[in-house]
Amino acid sequence: MPDSPHMTRRQFVTVIGAAISTFIGVVVGLPAIAYLLSPALEKQTGESWIPLGPLEKYPLNQPTLFTFTRTKKHGWEKTVNSYGVFVLRTSETQVRVFSNVCTHLSCRVTWKADLQEYICPCHDGHFAIDGSIISGPQPRPLDEYETKIEDGNLFILLKEA
């Protein structure tokens, strides 16, 4: 049909074939991209108040380590994360709670009562009792938690990134 104003059969099949292929490609291809990116697109933030027990059990002006674990779900698996915080009770009703994670490279700091300092063993970071920097490579003071006291019980606000 050289002079026909209409499409040839071959042209028709080509166009329909390309259209169907494109449709299948889009319907399967775009969800496939979302499928691969899925875990990165999930928001994993959460806030929760962690109970640390009665405030009165913590001694005055002496940082005391409190540890707890939180279970986090990663796809088909649950991971238990350990947390450690130093509770510093400054008066009968006032308290400050610091993370024991060094702000340099995330080693754990320990309280040395004889020096009255927190010391990070990894790169010799020294922090004062209020978490401020004394010496070492750390860029900022120890992270502090928001606290609240309800019926004499201490709580901290844990923000999971």
Partner: protein, 219 residues
């Protein structure tokens, strides 16, 4: 611009030659039953692609297999779609490959000179059924566990060598982590490699020998 690029590529890759030999073949007047080979190939590619995607999240271990499938179905975006295509595509592929075989049989297309095409098709049909058998265990739910228990038990009823076949299939005397791992390996490596290679031979023969016409009174 595109024409010159195409000509540059064509001169080096011989694209026009490939097109003429592979796609622009002379074929007798045929009907819709003759599309089932292409449909089988399409389904194989679709199963391959969705299968590759499933391995991103699936874990072939008894303590995680079931949970990872649940994760794909309920939490991964479009996981239900990818697994759904793989699940239904599997049943459809067995169906299409089987009807493709029936068409070849009833049109007597397996005769001289196409015996090897038929024999390679036998391998492809059996390998496809093997894919179904091994894939069925992977979700590691009650149905797949007991289906594989029964299936391997049936293989074990072969006289003399039955118990040996049974322990080879299971990787021991009972269904275990070893069974799951070897079914997974066979499902994603051994059989797909066999099928891909055999499809290559099958298509080479189809292109070399051409396809047979529908039998008429002269046959």
């Amino acid at each position: 611009m595109f024409r010159r690029l195409f000509e540059w590529l064509d001169e080096r890759l011989g694209l026009t030659g490939i097109h003429d030999v592979v796609l622009d073949r002379k074929v007798p007047k045929v009907n819709w039953w003759f599309t089932l080979g292409s449909a089988s190939l399409f389904l194989f590619l679709l199963q391959g692609i969705t299968g590759i995607f499933l391995t991103v999240y699936y874990v072939p271990s008894p303590d995680h297999a079931y949970d990872s499938v649940q994760y794909i179905m309920n939490e991964v975006r479009f996981g239900w779609l990818i697994r759904g295509i793989h699940h239904w595509g599997a049943s459809l592929m067995v169906l299409v490959v089987f009807i493709h075989m029936l068409r070849t049989f009833f049109y007597a297309a397996y005769k001289y000179p196409r015996e090897l095409t038929w024999l390679s098709g036998v391998i492809l049909l059996l390998a496809t059924l093997g894919m179904g058998f091994t894939g069925y265990l992977l979700p590691w739910n009650q149905r797949s566990y007991w289906a594989t228990t029964v299936g391997t038990e049936i293989a074990g009823t072969v006289p003399v060598v039955g118990p040996f076949i049974l322990s080879v299939l299971r990787g021991g005397s009972e269904l275990s982590a070893i069974t799951l791992a070897r079914f997974f390996a066979v499902h994603i490596w051994f059989l797909p490699a066999l099928i891909a290679a055999t499809i290559g031979l099958h298509l080479y023969l189809v292109i070399r020998l051409g396809i047979s016409h529908i039998p008429d009174e002269s046959d």
